[in-house]
């Protein structure tokens, strides 16, 4: 199930909220577990079994870790952690990467079957989330969860199940057993949710149509202007889609009494690539830092080892985004940039005017999105060549102009919305004005989103890949 659908908004959500709040506190997690599984199994009911398997295995691994630690058996605890991690990664590999490896090995003559299994929704997100559990218990950052229901609810929690934020167990452990529900929290959840819904339905879907035009355009018709317009559209689509989902997750979480961390912080205003990654998909970056980069020694190592660590982390970050080699290249592209910034570029940049720093960052990020968005290598090559001036269609043409003018108001709104401008203005509004404007904006967002969903032939879900 996805949030940006009529049956979620006007059927699943009101029923879940209603029953959740009339359910006594001690039964609420059990109720959530049930509706989480409905949410998860909506597209592929069979995978509910896979989910239950994951829950049970990780639940017992956490208990085993805690028990070994209690007995002073560090080796046993480590084995339990390793077993849980291997099993989770094996499931992720099997469902997500098997076909990629099989088709690649077929090229070198190995005959491995391609399975074409449907990707369980959100598997990359919830696998990473559950893997934090045995580690956090081992590190003593969290207690082992005694209740299978509470643990199952943590793994499947529907607001962030399918598109993040990726929450570490230690961040949510206390909330699983004790959380408050208040109108203040619910109302702030409503605001964040509606902002997220509008980002996804009104901005991302709309701008996404422009990217689709350029993705589908035969490469011999590409123009320089068109290629940049297309990749600009994709960068806005992905940002609003992804951050919209994260906002909706945070909002829904608050409606149910949870507090999730923020996942995006205006990434496109960054002044360096390093800063961009501190602002983009924050929960993923923080996951890799805590559970891969630092265990490998982080930056408290010799330079060659540091660069090696960075390459490993960014290769993993890349391929996490999808079972296709272009994502690996995309990750390594960032490895190179971030190493360069660490080594010397960062110091040079700091001395340049802010405008140059912004242009530098946006340029490199836009190029990265072309690598990210075009999976076919030949196509990607043509697209990048077009961006760098070697476009078969020349600098620009009537079509590029048509799309540019058609989408100009949308582009202006979207670019403005990707900066903190609106948030700053909102804070300066007097409280009395806020009280009047807020419900008007909420209703406008809900009504327009509903209209676009009712007539929504175009409502892609970008995270099937992830």
């Amino acid at each position: 199930m996805v949030f940006s659908s009529l049956y979620f908004l006007f059927l699943y959500l009101p029923i879940v909220l209603l029953i959740y709040y009339i359910t006594p506190l001690k039964w609420r997690n059990l109720f959530l577990l049930v509706v989480n599984l409905v949410f998860y199994g909506w597209g592929e009911p069979v995978y509910i079994l896979l989910m239950l398997f994951t829950i049970v295995v990780d639940y017992f691994s956490g208990l085993a870790v805690a028990r070994c630690k209690g007995q002073g058996n560090d080796r046993g605890a480590k084995i339990a952690v390793a077993a849980a991690l291997v099993l989770n990664l094996a499931i992720l590999f099997f469902f997500k990467y098997w076909d990629l490896v099989a088709t690649t090995l077929q090229h070198v003559g190995l005959n491995m079957p391609v399975l074409e299994l449907a990707l369980p929704i959100g598997i990359s997100f919830y696998t990473f989330q559950t893997m934090t559990y045995p580690v956090d218990v081992y590190r003593g950052d969290a207690e082992a969860q005694r209740s299978l229901v509470n643990f199952g609810t943590f793994v499947t929690l529907f607001p962030q199940l399918i598109a993040g934020p990726i929450i570490k167990y230690k961040e949510l452990a206390d909330q699983m057993t004790y959380r408050t529900h208040s109108p203040e929290q619910f109302a702030s959840g409503v605001q964040v949710f509606v902002v997220g819904l509008a980002k996804k339905v009104l901005l991302a879907n709309n701008i996404g149509k422009l990217w689709d035009v350029y993705l589908a355009l035969p490469t011999d018709q590409l123009t320089v202007a068109g290629a940049w317009l297309g990749v600009l559209a994709f960068s806005l689509q992905l940002y609003f889609d992804f951050s919209g989902y994260s906002d909706m997750a945070v909002g829904l979480g608050r409606m149910l009494g949870f507090e999730f961390p923020r996942n995006f912080n205006y990434p496109y205003i960054s002044k360096s690539v390093t800063e961009f990654w501190r602002r983009w998909h924050i929960s993923l970056g923080s996951w890799f830092r805590e559970y891969l980069y630092i265990p490998m020694g982080g930056n408290r190592v010799q330079k060659p080892r540091l660069f090696f660590n960075l390459f490993v982390v960014w290769a993993a970050t890349g391929i996490w985004h999808g079972a296709s080699w272009n994502f690996l290249i995309w990750g390594l592209y960032f490895a190179v940039l971030i190493i360069a910034e660490k080594a010397f570029l960062g110091k040079v940049l700091e001395k340049l005017p802010a405008a140059v720093q912004h242009i530098y960052t946006l340029f490199l990020v836009l190029v990265s999105w072309a690598i990210f968005a075009v999976e076919d290598f030949a196509h990607m090559g043509s697209y990048l060549r077009a961006m760098f001036g070697m476009a078969p269609g020349g600098l620009t043409n009537d079509n590029a102009w048509y799309y540019f003018t058609s989408f100009l108001p949308m582009l202006i709104i979207a670019v403005a919305a990707s900066t903190p401008l609106a948030a700053k203005l909102w804070k300066r509004l007097p409280v009395r004005a806020v009280k009047i404007v807020l419900p008007v904006l909420l209703l406008a967002g809900l009504i327009l989103s509903t209209a676009y969903l009712v007539d929504g032939t175009y409502n892609p879900f970008l995270y099937w890949n992830f």
Binding site: S5, W42, P45, P183, E184, S406, P409, L443, V454, D455
Partner: protein, 389 residues
């Protein structure tokens, strides 16, 4: 924010999602949408299937139930027409020049986008089928394609709007089908492009446009067209909202007028189909079926709409030749003009007619054949192989 105010915001949100939950549950489901000209999804029933077949014979474990249910919620959403309208208006307010693949063109015209055929092989295949048909039958065959608004009224499109060339496709068709005589309907339509030769809200040509098409077919089919001034135009409806209106979501344009020119005295129309048992069934129709003027689908007034096989006979011209037309719905408004020159006009729509056309030609003493499609239909139709049988 005070607690009271937060309760108000909470209540506002819950009321919004709750009201539509209740309203959707309470409102009766609609069979079809007249506004959109299509059948709406009904509430699907869960079928778990049987364990022996791995549950794959049901609709639940393969996800079909969920997909149908999702379509059901959007199709049956309360006030659907108003939401669709709101979205189209918002798109326009945001400076968009198209919605749902329909351009907001000048003069209150809605024009369906024409893109390069997605499947160029289909175009060559369809042209080969026409060639095969020409070789199969022993009568002269005329072939022509009708350009649509996107081609003839290209000057009404938004500036720079992507618009694939229909003339290139017509030239390709003319060059590929060597056994048939090519008739040029493009030139007369282009000459009269400032007249109301197409509907502004429907994908078809008007009777006037069909008349110019009729003049373009004249030399290839071998008749002298009746001058337009010989006819007295009759306005049939001034309230016609066509298919492009439906698909566009645009609700702010004025309706079209349907006019006819040719009187229907002495003309009979019989539609031939089969009942469920496979027995032939004859249905009496007319050149103009006026009952369609009171429903949304008013274009079906011409010959009563889609049919597998239709036979139009003109009692006033019993000795005239017999013409067979392999066609799409554009022919419906053309046929009235052709009746003057033929004793019988047989209309075959390969979407529905799957018997041997060759046999049909021989058994019915057909003298001439015409293959006539609009360009978008011809390049996308997947049923033309039936005419080779």
């Amino acid at each position: 924010m005070s607690k009271k105010y937060c309760i108000f915001i909470t209540a506002l949100f819950c009321a919004f999602i709750g009201v539509f939950l209740v309203a959707n549950a309470a409102a009766p489901d609609r069979e079809s949408s007249e506004m959109e000209n299509r059948v709406l999804q009904q509430l699907p029933e869960i079928d778990l299937g049987t364990p022996a077949k791995g549950f794959q014979d049901g609709n639940f474990f393969n996800g079909k139930f969920m997909r149908d249910f999702e379509t059901y919620t959007t199709d049956q959403f309360i006030g659907r027409d108003a939401w669709v309208d709101l979205k189209a208006r918002t798109e326009r307010a945001l400076g968009k020049k198209e919605n749902n693949n329909v351009y907001f063109a000048d003069n209150g015209t809605l024009i369906t986008r024409f893109d390069q055929p997605k499947d160029p092989e289909r175009v060559t295949d369809n042209l080969n089928y026409v060639n095969n048909f020409v070789e199969n039958v022993d009568i002269p065959v005329v072939f022509s394609l009708i350009p649509t608004q996107a081609c003839i009224w290209a000057d009404r499109l938004p500036e720079g709007a992507p618009n694939a060339s229909q003339t290139d496709l017509m030239a390709q068709a003319q060059g590929a089908v060597t056994g048939a005589v090519w008739a040029d309907v493009y030139t007369p339509l282009m000459e009269h492009k400032d007249e109301d030769i197409y509907y502004r809200t429907d994908h078809h040509w008007t009777s006037l446009g069909a008349y110019y098409g009729y003049t373009g077919l004249a030399s290839a089919l071998g008749y002298d067209p009746v001058p337009l001034s010989d006819y007295t135009p009759t306005v049939r409806s001034t309230e016609f909202y066509g298919t492009v209106f439906s698909s566009s979501g645009v609700r702010w344009v004025s309706p079209d007028t349907i006019t006819t020119y040719v009187p229907d005295d002495g003309i009979t129309v019989v539609s031939h189909t089969y009942d469920n048992a496979g027995n032939p069934v004859e249905e009496q129709r007319a050149l103009y079926v006026e009952s369609f003027l009171s429903v949304k689908d008013k274009y079906s007034m011409f010959l009563g709409g889609n049919q597998s096989l239709g036979v139009v006979k003109n009692a006033n011209n019993p000795d005239g030749p017999k013409l067979l037309i392999i066609r799409d719905s554009y022919a419906d408004s053309l046929v009235p003009f052709l009746t003057a020159h033929y004793s019988e006009i047989h209309l075959i729509d390969p979407r529905y007619y799957h018997l041997s056309v060759k046999d049909y030609v021989e058994q019915n003493g057909i003298d001439q054949a015409l293959v006539l499609y609009s360009v978008p239909n011809f390049v996308s139709d997947g049923n033309l192989f039936w005419i080779t049988r």
